[in-house]
Protein backbone atom coordinates (compact mmCIF):
# COMPACT_ATOMS: atom_id res chain seq x y z
CA UNK A 1 0.00 0.00 0.00
CA UNK A 2 2.67 2.51 1.08
CA UNK A 3 6.19 1.87 -0.04
CA UNK A 4 9.06 4.16 0.92
CA UNK A 5 12.18 3.41 -1.10
CA UNK A 6 15.60 4.82 -0.24
CA UNK A 7 14.50 8.39 0.36
CA UNK A 8 16.86 11.18 1.40
CA UNK A 9 15.93 14.74 2.25
CA UNK A 10 17.86 17.90 2.97
CA UNK A 11 16.94 21.26 4.47
CA UNK A 12 19.62 23.36 2.78
CA UNK A 13 22.88 21.67 3.70
CA UNK A 14 21.40 19.73 6.59
CA UNK A 15 20.42 16.17 5.82
CA UNK A 16 17.28 15.21 7.76
CA UNK A 17 16.60 11.83 6.15
CA UNK A 18 19.25 9.41 4.91
CA UNK A 19 18.33 6.50 2.69
CA UNK A 20 15.12 5.54 4.53
CA UNK A 21 13.22 2.46 3.40
CA UNK A 22 10.10 0.88 4.81
CA UNK A 23 6.62 -0.14 3.79
CA UNK A 24 3.08 -0.43 5.12
CA UNK A 25 1.00 -3.27 3.74
CA UNK A 26 -2.76 -3.14 3.33
CA UNK A 27 -4.44 -3.39 6.73
CA UNK A 28 -1.10 -3.14 8.50
CA UNK A 29 -0.32 -0.87 11.44
CA UNK A 30 3.26 0.41 11.52
CA UNK A 31 4.52 2.48 14.44
CA UNK A 32 7.45 4.83 13.85
CA UNK A 33 9.37 5.78 16.98
CA UNK A 34 12.69 7.25 17.96
CA UNK A 35 14.24 10.14 19.87
CA UNK A 36 13.19 13.68 19.01
CA UNK A 37 14.93 15.11 15.99
CA UNK A 38 15.33 11.66 14.46
CA UNK A 39 13.24 12.58 11.41
CA UNK A 40 10.12 10.51 12.09
CA UNK A 41 7.65 13.39 11.64
CA UNK A 42 9.47 14.49 8.51
CA UNK A 43 9.28 10.95 7.15
CA UNK A 44 5.52 10.69 7.62
CA UNK A 45 4.95 14.11 6.04
CA UNK A 46 6.77 12.89 2.95
CA UNK A 47 4.24 10.10 2.47
CA UNK A 48 1.48 12.44 1.30
CA UNK A 49 3.86 14.97 -0.23
CA UNK A 50 3.54 17.68 2.41
CA UNK A 51 7.34 17.60 2.46
CA UNK A 52 9.25 17.05 -0.78
CA UNK A 53 12.12 14.58 -0.91
CA UNK A 54 15.26 15.02 -2.98
CA UNK A 55 16.15 11.36 -3.53
CA UNK A 56 14.38 8.03 -3.63
CA UNK A 57 10.71 7.43 -4.23
CA UNK A 58 7.45 6.82 -2.37
CA UNK A 59 4.59 4.82 -3.82
CA UNK A 60 1.07 4.91 -2.46
CA UNK A 61 -0.86 2.12 -4.13
CA UNK A 62 0.37 2.73 -7.66
CA UNK A 63 0.83 6.49 -7.48
CA UNK A 64 4.36 7.84 -7.24
CA UNK A 65 4.25 10.66 -4.68
CA UNK A 66 7.73 11.85 -5.55
CA UNK A 67 7.28 11.98 -9.33
CA UNK A 68 6.76 15.30 -11.06
CA UNK A 69 3.26 15.73 -12.43
CA UNK A 70 1.59 13.49 -9.85
CA UNK A 71 -1.74 14.95 -8.79
CA UNK A 72 -0.87 15.42 -5.12
CA UNK A 73 -4.21 17.06 -4.33
CA UNK A 74 -6.09 13.97 -5.44
CA UNK A 75 -3.66 11.66 -3.71
CA UNK A 76 -3.94 13.54 -0.41
CA UNK A 77 -7.72 13.39 -0.49
CA UNK A 78 -7.36 9.59 -0.25
CA UNK A 79 -4.93 9.55 2.67
CA UNK A 80 -6.13 10.75 6.06
CA UNK A 81 -3.73 12.64 8.29
CA UNK A 82 -3.87 13.54 11.97
CA UNK A 83 -1.50 16.13 13.43
CA UNK A 84 0.11 16.71 16.80
CA UNK A 85 -1.70 20.02 17.28
CA UNK A 86 -5.07 18.85 15.84
CA UNK A 87 -5.20 21.66 13.23
CA UNK A 88 -8.99 21.78 13.12
CA UNK A 89 -10.42 24.73 11.19
CA UNK A 90 -11.02 27.11 14.11
CA UNK A 91 -13.66 29.22 12.34
CA UNK A 92 -15.95 26.28 11.67
CA UNK A 93 -18.10 24.09 13.89
CA UNK A 94 -17.25 20.42 14.35
CA UNK A 95 -19.93 19.58 11.79
CA UNK A 96 -18.47 21.97 9.21
CA UNK A 97 -14.96 20.65 9.87
CA UNK A 98 -16.18 17.19 8.91
CA UNK A 99 -18.31 18.30 5.97
CA UNK A 100 -16.06 20.80 4.18
CA UNK A 101 -13.72 18.28 2.58
CA UNK A 102 -16.55 15.92 1.71
CA UNK A 103 -18.48 18.65 -0.07
CA UNK A 104 -15.66 20.59 -1.71
CA UNK A 105 -13.23 17.80 -2.56
CA UNK A 106 -15.40 14.69 -2.91
CA UNK A 107 -18.40 16.77 -4.11
CA UNK A 108 -20.88 15.00 -1.87
CA UNK A 109 -24.28 16.53 -1.28
CA UNK A 110 -24.89 18.40 1.95
CA UNK A 111 -27.22 15.68 3.25
CA UNK A 112 -24.81 12.91 2.46
CA UNK A 113 -21.91 14.79 4.09
CA UNK A 114 -23.99 15.57 7.16
CA UNK A 115 -25.09 11.96 7.58
CA UNK A 116 -21.50 10.79 7.35
CA UNK A 117 -20.33 13.47 9.79
CA UNK A 118 -22.97 12.56 12.35
CA UNK A 119 -22.24 8.85 12.09
CA UNK A 120 -18.51 9.38 12.56
CA UNK A 121 -18.82 11.87 15.37
CA UNK A 122 -21.22 9.53 17.21
CA UNK A 123 -18.62 6.79 17.00
CA UNK A 124 -16.15 8.92 18.96
CA UNK A 125 -18.88 9.93 21.41
CA UNK A 126 -19.04 13.64 20.53
CA UNK A 127 -22.46 13.97 18.90
CA UNK A 128 -23.67 16.41 21.61
CA UNK A 129 -20.74 18.70 20.69
CA UNK A 130 -21.25 18.70 16.92
CA UNK A 131 -22.31 22.35 16.70
CA UNK A 132 -19.45 23.59 18.91
CA UNK A 133 -16.27 25.23 17.68
CA UNK A 134 -12.85 23.58 18.16
CA UNK A 135 -11.81 26.28 20.65
CA UNK A 136 -14.64 25.18 22.92
CA UNK A 137 -13.45 21.57 23.16
CA UNK A 138 -10.70 19.90 25.20
CA UNK A 139 -7.54 18.67 23.49
CA UNK A 140 -8.66 15.05 23.58
CA UNK A 141 -12.04 15.95 22.09
CA UNK A 142 -10.37 18.03 19.37
CA UNK A 143 -8.09 15.18 18.42
CA UNK A 144 -11.05 12.79 18.18
CA UNK A 145 -12.75 15.30 15.89
CA UNK A 146 -9.56 15.52 13.82
CA UNK A 147 -9.51 11.74 13.40
CA UNK A 148 -13.18 11.82 12.36
CA UNK A 149 -12.47 14.61 9.87
CA UNK A 150 -9.82 12.47 8.23
CA UNK A 151 -12.11 9.41 8.20
CA UNK A 152 -14.92 11.41 6.60
CA UNK A 153 -12.92 11.34 3.37
CA UNK A 154 -13.04 7.51 3.31
CA UNK A 155 -9.25 7.25 3.23
CA UNK A 156 -7.38 4.17 2.02
CA UNK A 157 -4.77 4.78 4.76
CA UNK A 158 -4.26 6.98 7.80
CA UNK A 159 -1.13 8.84 8.88
CA UNK A 160 -0.75 9.92 12.51
CA UNK A 161 1.95 12.44 13.44
CA UNK A 162 2.39 12.23 17.23
CA UNK A 163 -1.38 12.37 17.83
CA UNK A 164 -1.12 12.30 21.63
CA UNK A 165 2.02 14.35 22.26
CA UNK A 166 0.17 17.63 22.81
CA UNK A 167 -2.44 16.14 25.15
CA UNK A 168 -2.75 16.19 28.91
CA UNK A 169 -2.05 12.70 30.30
CA UNK A 170 -5.67 12.02 31.26
CA UNK A 171 -6.82 12.63 27.69
CA UNK A 172 -4.36 10.37 25.95
CA UNK A 173 -6.41 7.21 26.39
CA UNK A 174 -9.61 8.55 24.87
CA UNK A 175 -7.64 9.23 21.67
CA UNK A 176 -5.69 5.96 21.75
CA UNK A 177 -8.94 4.01 22.21
CA UNK A 178 -10.26 5.48 18.97
CA UNK A 179 -7.03 4.55 17.21
CA UNK A 180 -7.03 1.01 18.57
CA UNK A 181 -10.58 0.52 17.37
CA UNK A 182 -9.61 1.85 13.95
CA UNK A 183 -6.68 -0.56 13.77
CA UNK A 184 -8.90 -3.48 14.75
CA UNK A 185 -11.32 -2.52 11.96
CA UNK A 186 -8.47 -3.15 9.53
CA UNK A 187 -7.42 0.40 8.66
CA UNK A 188 -3.96 0.77 7.15
CA UNK A 189 -2.07 3.03 9.56
CA UNK A 190 1.33 4.64 9.89
CA UNK A 191 1.71 6.13 13.35
CA UNK A 192 4.51 8.30 14.72
CA UNK A 193 4.20 7.99 18.49
CA UNK A 194 5.97 7.48 21.80
CA UNK A 195 3.06 5.41 23.12
CA UNK A 196 4.76 2.03 23.41
CA UNK A 197 1.68 0.46 24.99
CA UNK A 198 -0.24 1.31 21.84
CA UNK A 199 2.55 -0.07 19.68
CA UNK A 200 2.60 -3.37 21.58
CA UNK A 201 -1.14 -3.72 21.41
CA UNK A 202 -1.87 -3.04 17.76
CA UNK A 203 1.30 -2.54 15.73
CA UNK A 204 2.34 -5.20 13.25
CA UNK A 205 5.78 -3.68 12.88
CA UNK A 206 7.87 -1.03 14.59
CA UNK A 207 10.24 1.25 12.71
CA UNK A 208 12.90 2.78 14.93
CA UNK A 209 14.64 5.90 13.64
CA UNK A 210 17.71 7.75 14.82
CA UNK A 211 19.52 10.71 13.24
CA UNK A 212 17.50 10.52 10.03
CA UNK A 213 18.04 6.82 9.43
CA UNK A 214 15.83 3.78 9.80
CA UNK A 215 17.77 1.80 12.39
CA UNK A 216 15.31 -1.05 12.93
CA UNK A 217 12.24 -2.19 11.02
CA UNK A 218 10.92 -5.36 12.64
CA UNK A 219 7.86 -7.21 13.83
CA UNK A 220 6.56 -5.75 17.07
CA UNK A 221 7.33 -8.69 19.40
CA UNK A 222 10.86 -8.94 18.03
CA UNK A 223 11.46 -5.24 18.46
CA UNK A 224 10.35 -5.16 22.08
CA UNK A 225 11.73 -8.59 22.98
CA UNK A 226 15.09 -8.36 21.38
CA UNK A 227 16.07 -5.07 19.79
CA UNK A 228 19.20 -5.49 17.69
CA UNK A 229 20.82 -2.10 17.84
CA UNK A 230 22.33 -0.56 20.91
CA UNK A 231 20.54 2.69 20.12
CA UNK A 232 17.11 1.00 20.22
CA UNK A 233 17.95 -0.90 23.41
CA UNK A 234 18.98 2.36 25.02
CA UNK A 235 15.82 4.12 23.81
CA UNK A 236 13.56 1.35 25.07
CA UNK A 237 15.23 1.12 28.46
CA UNK A 238 14.70 4.85 28.89
CA UNK A 239 11.03 5.00 27.99
CA UNK A 240 9.87 1.64 29.37
CA UNK A 241 11.48 1.81 32.81
CA UNK A 242 10.10 4.94 34.33
Amino acid sequence: MISIENISKWYGDFQVLTDCTTHVGKGEVVVVCGPSGSGKSTLIKCVNGLEPVQQGRILVEDADVTAKGTNLTRLRSRIGMVFQHFELYPHMSVRENLCLGQQKVLVRSRDEANAKAEALISRVGLLPHIEKFPGQLSGGQQQRVAISRALAMDPIAMLFDEPTSALDPEMINEVLDVMVELAQDGMTMMVVTHEMGFARKVADRVVFMDAGRVVEDRATEEFFGNPESERAQDFLSKILNH
Binding site: K45, L50, M81, E87, P90, V105
Partner: protein, 238 residues
Protein backbone atom coordinates in the same frame (compact mmCIF):
# COMPACT_ATOMS: atom_id res chain seq x y z
CA UNK B 1 -6.64 88.00 20.86
CA UNK B 2 -8.91 90.22 18.94
CA UNK B 3 -11.09 87.84 16.95
CA UNK B 4 -14.65 88.24 15.94
CA UNK B 5 -16.27 84.85 16.59
CA UNK B 6 -19.15 83.97 14.32
CA UNK B 7 -20.20 80.31 14.42
CA UNK B 8 -23.33 81.23 12.52
CA UNK B 9 -21.33 81.51 9.33
CA UNK B 10 -21.17 77.74 9.15
CA UNK B 11 -24.93 77.54 8.88
CA UNK B 12 -25.41 80.19 6.23
CA UNK B 13 -26.90 78.67 3.11
CA UNK B 14 -23.97 79.02 0.76
CA UNK B 15 -21.24 78.00 3.19
CA UNK B 16 -23.25 75.14 4.68
CA UNK B 17 -23.73 73.91 1.14
CA UNK B 18 -19.96 73.99 0.57
CA UNK B 19 -19.35 71.98 3.73
CA UNK B 20 -21.94 69.38 2.78
CA UNK B 21 -20.54 69.12 -0.73
CA UNK B 22 -17.05 68.75 0.75
CA UNK B 23 -18.17 65.92 3.01
CA UNK B 24 -19.78 64.27 -0.01
CA UNK B 25 -16.56 64.37 -2.03
CA UNK B 26 -14.52 63.18 0.95
CA UNK B 27 -16.79 60.14 1.25
CA UNK B 28 -16.78 59.60 -2.51
CA UNK B 29 -12.98 59.61 -2.73
CA UNK B 30 -12.35 57.63 0.44
CA UNK B 31 -14.92 54.90 -0.24
CA UNK B 32 -14.05 54.40 -3.91
CA UNK B 33 -10.34 54.37 -3.08
CA UNK B 34 -11.05 51.88 -0.29
CA UNK B 35 -12.79 49.50 -2.69
CA UNK B 36 -9.82 49.74 -5.06
CA UNK B 37 -7.36 49.33 -2.17
CA UNK B 38 -9.15 46.23 -0.87
CA UNK B 39 -9.34 44.58 -4.30
CA UNK B 40 -5.71 45.25 -5.23
CA UNK B 41 -4.41 44.85 -1.68
CA UNK B 42 -5.95 41.42 -1.14
CA UNK B 43 -4.60 40.15 -4.48
CA UNK B 44 -1.12 41.52 -3.82
CA UNK B 45 -1.09 40.36 -0.18
CA UNK B 46 -2.14 36.83 -1.15
CA UNK B 47 0.37 36.92 -4.01
CA UNK B 48 3.22 37.55 -1.59
CA UNK B 49 2.39 34.34 0.30
CA UNK B 50 2.01 32.05 -2.74
CA UNK B 51 4.55 29.29 -3.40
CA UNK B 52 5.24 30.75 -6.87
CA UNK B 53 8.47 32.78 -6.74
CA UNK B 54 7.80 35.13 -9.71
CA UNK B 55 4.34 36.07 -8.40
CA UNK B 56 5.66 36.69 -4.88
CA UNK B 57 8.51 38.83 -6.20
CA UNK B 58 6.20 40.89 -8.38
CA UNK B 59 3.85 41.52 -5.45
CA UNK B 60 6.74 42.44 -3.15
CA UNK B 61 7.94 44.93 -5.76
CA UNK B 62 4.46 46.49 -5.87
CA UNK B 63 4.37 46.92 -2.10
CA UNK B 64 7.84 48.42 -1.88
CA UNK B 65 7.18 50.82 -4.76
CA UNK B 66 3.85 52.18 -3.57
CA UNK B 67 4.61 52.13 0.13
CA UNK B 68 7.90 53.99 -0.09
CA UNK B 69 6.94 56.99 -2.23
CA UNK B 70 5.14 59.78 -0.35
CA UNK B 71 1.41 59.85 -1.11
CA UNK B 72 1.55 63.52 -2.11
CA UNK B 73 4.29 62.78 -4.64
CA UNK B 74 2.25 59.87 -5.98
CA UNK B 75 -0.79 62.11 -6.47
CA UNK B 76 1.35 64.65 -8.37
CA UNK B 77 2.84 61.88 -10.49
CA UNK B 78 -0.60 60.54 -11.42
CA UNK B 79 -2.03 63.98 -12.09
CA UNK B 80 0.80 65.93 -13.70
CA UNK B 81 3.29 63.38 -15.01
CA UNK B 82 1.17 60.39 -16.10
CA UNK B 83 -0.65 62.19 -18.95
CA UNK B 84 2.73 63.21 -20.42
CA UNK B 85 4.31 59.76 -20.48
CA UNK B 86 1.42 57.67 -21.80
CA UNK B 87 0.81 57.49 -25.59
CA UNK B 88 -0.21 60.90 -27.01
CA UNK B 89 -3.86 60.06 -27.68
CA UNK B 90 -4.43 58.71 -24.21
CA UNK B 91 -2.59 61.66 -22.66
CA UNK B 92 -4.72 64.11 -24.59
CA UNK B 93 -7.86 62.29 -23.50
CA UNK B 94 -6.72 62.34 -19.86
CA UNK B 95 -6.08 66.09 -19.98
CA UNK B 96 -9.08 67.16 -22.02
CA UNK B 97 -11.92 64.65 -22.02
CA UNK B 98 -11.60 62.44 -18.95
CA UNK B 99 -14.65 63.12 -16.77
CA UNK B 100 -13.87 64.45 -13.30
CA UNK B 101 -10.07 64.19 -13.66
CA UNK B 102 -9.30 65.35 -10.10
CA UNK B 103 -11.67 62.79 -8.62
CA UNK B 104 -10.53 59.87 -10.78
CA UNK B 105 -6.87 60.68 -10.16
CA UNK B 106 -7.39 60.98 -6.40
CA UNK B 107 -9.18 57.62 -6.26
CA UNK B 108 -6.47 55.87 -8.27
CA UNK B 109 -3.59 57.47 -6.40
CA UNK B 110 -5.03 57.02 -2.95
CA UNK B 111 -6.39 53.55 -3.75
CA UNK B 112 -3.16 52.11 -5.14
CA UNK B 113 -1.11 53.62 -2.32
CA UNK B 114 -3.44 52.23 0.36
CA UNK B 115 -3.46 48.87 -1.46
CA UNK B 116 0.23 48.45 -0.63
CA UNK B 117 -0.58 48.91 3.06
CA UNK B 118 -3.62 46.61 2.89
CA UNK B 119 -1.45 43.99 1.16
CA UNK B 120 0.95 43.99 4.10
CA UNK B 121 -1.90 43.50 6.56
CA UNK B 122 -3.32 40.64 4.50
CA UNK B 123 0.10 38.99 4.24
CA UNK B 124 0.63 39.33 7.99
CA UNK B 125 -2.81 37.84 8.63
CA UNK B 126 -2.15 34.83 6.40
CA UNK B 127 1.24 34.25 8.00
CA UNK B 128 -0.35 34.47 11.44
CA UNK B 129 -2.67 31.55 10.63
CA UNK B 130 0.42 29.37 10.54
CA UNK B 131 1.83 26.49 8.53
CA UNK B 132 0.03 23.80 10.57
CA UNK B 133 -3.46 24.66 9.33
CA UNK B 134 -2.18 25.03 5.78
CA UNK B 135 -0.72 21.52 5.95
CA UNK B 136 -3.98 20.22 7.41
CA UNK B 137 -5.98 21.75 4.56
CA UNK B 138 -3.65 20.27 1.95
CA UNK B 139 -3.75 16.91 3.74
CA UNK B 140 -7.56 17.14 3.64
CA UNK B 141 -7.29 17.17 -0.15
CA UNK B 142 -7.79 20.87 -0.85
CA UNK B 143 -6.08 22.60 -3.75
CA UNK B 144 -4.10 25.79 -3.09
CA UNK B 145 -7.06 27.91 -4.20
CA UNK B 146 -9.46 26.02 -1.93
CA UNK B 147 -7.03 26.26 0.99
CA UNK B 148 -7.04 30.05 0.65
CA UNK B 149 -10.76 30.30 -0.04
CA UNK B 150 -12.02 28.15 2.84
CA UNK B 151 -9.29 28.24 5.47
CA UNK B 152 -6.57 30.89 5.21
CA UNK B 153 -8.58 33.92 4.09
CA UNK B 154 -11.62 33.51 6.38
CA UNK B 155 -9.35 33.26 9.41
CA UNK B 156 -6.83 35.93 8.43
CA UNK B 157 -9.56 38.45 7.51
CA UNK B 158 -10.94 38.12 11.04
CA UNK B 159 -7.48 38.54 12.53
CA UNK B 160 -6.76 41.76 10.64
CA UNK B 161 -9.99 43.65 11.36
CA UNK B 162 -8.29 45.94 13.94
CA UNK B 163 -5.32 47.03 11.76
CA UNK B 164 -7.62 47.32 8.75
CA UNK B 165 -9.80 49.69 10.74
CA UNK B 166 -6.76 51.95 11.11
CA UNK B 167 -6.18 51.81 7.36
CA UNK B 168 -9.81 52.70 6.74
CA UNK B 169 -9.57 55.72 9.03
CA UNK B 170 -6.30 56.71 7.39
CA UNK B 171 -7.81 56.68 3.93
CA UNK B 172 -10.40 59.27 5.06
CA UNK B 173 -7.72 61.49 6.49
CA UNK B 174 -5.39 61.00 3.52
CA UNK B 175 -8.20 61.96 1.16
CA UNK B 176 -7.59 65.56 2.26
CA UNK B 177 -4.44 65.55 0.11
CA UNK B 178 -6.70 65.51 -2.93
CA UNK B 179 -7.15 69.25 -2.45
CA UNK B 180 -3.64 69.69 -3.87
CA UNK B 181 -4.80 68.49 -7.27
CA UNK B 182 -7.92 70.60 -7.11
CA UNK B 183 -10.60 68.35 -5.68
CA UNK B 184 -13.04 70.32 -3.52
CA UNK B 185 -13.33 67.84 -0.68
CA UNK B 186 -13.90 68.73 2.97
CA UNK B 187 -10.53 70.34 3.71
CA UNK B 188 -10.56 72.34 0.48
CA UNK B 189 -14.09 73.59 1.16
CA UNK B 190 -13.17 74.62 4.70
CA UNK B 191 -10.19 76.51 3.37
CA UNK B 192 -12.44 78.22 0.85
CA UNK B 193 -14.93 79.23 3.54
CA UNK B 194 -12.03 80.63 5.59
CA UNK B 195 -10.86 82.69 2.63
CA UNK B 196 -14.32 84.04 1.80
CA UNK B 197 -15.42 84.85 5.34
CA UNK B 198 -12.15 85.31 7.25
CA UNK B 199 -13.66 82.90 9.83
CA UNK B 200 -10.78 80.42 9.71
CA UNK B 201 -11.22 79.09 13.23
CA UNK B 202 -14.83 78.19 12.66
CA UNK B 203 -14.25 76.69 9.24
CA UNK B 204 -11.38 74.43 10.30
CA UNK B 205 -13.08 73.53 13.57
CA UNK B 206 -16.01 72.30 11.49
CA UNK B 207 -13.66 70.20 9.34
CA UNK B 208 -11.95 68.80 12.45
CA UNK B 209 -15.23 67.85 14.08
CA UNK B 210 -16.54 66.23 10.92
CA UNK B 211 -13.35 64.16 10.42
CA UNK B 212 -13.48 63.00 14.04
CA UNK B 213 -17.16 62.05 13.79
CA UNK B 214 -16.51 60.06 10.62
CA UNK B 215 -13.59 58.29 12.30
CA UNK B 216 -15.54 57.47 15.44
CA UNK B 217 -18.44 56.18 13.36
CA UNK B 218 -16.09 53.94 11.37
CA UNK B 219 -14.52 52.67 14.59
CA UNK B 220 -17.89 51.68 16.01
CA UNK B 221 -18.78 49.86 12.79
CA UNK B 222 -15.43 48.03 12.85
CA UNK B 223 -15.89 46.97 16.47
CA UNK B 224 -19.33 45.61 15.67
CA UNK B 225 -17.85 43.71 12.72
CA UNK B 226 -15.11 42.33 14.93
CA UNK B 227 -17.60 41.16 17.53
CA UNK B 228 -19.91 39.65 14.94
CA UNK B 229 -17.17 37.66 13.17
CA UNK B 230 -15.33 36.52 16.29
CA UNK B 231 -14.48 32.82 16.35
CA UNK B 232 -15.72 31.19 19.58
CA UNK B 233 -12.83 30.05 21.74
CA UNK B 234 -10.16 31.13 19.25
CA UNK B 235 -8.59 34.53 19.93
CA UNK B 236 -9.53 37.34 22.26
CA UNK B 237 -11.98 37.14 25.07
CA UNK B 238 -15.29 35.26 25.04
Amino acid sequence: MNYNWNWGVLFEGEYLGWLISGVGWTFAVALAAWVLALAVGVLVGVGRTLPSKPVATLCTAYVELFRNVPLLVQLFLWYFVMPEIVPDDLGRWMKRDMPNPEYVTAVIGLGLYTASRVAEQVRAGINAVGPGLTSAAYANGFSTAQTYRYVLLPISFRLIVPPMTSEFLTIFKNSSLALTIGLLELTAQSQQIAEYTFQGFEAFTAATVIYVVIALGATVIAQTLEKYTRIPGYVGKD
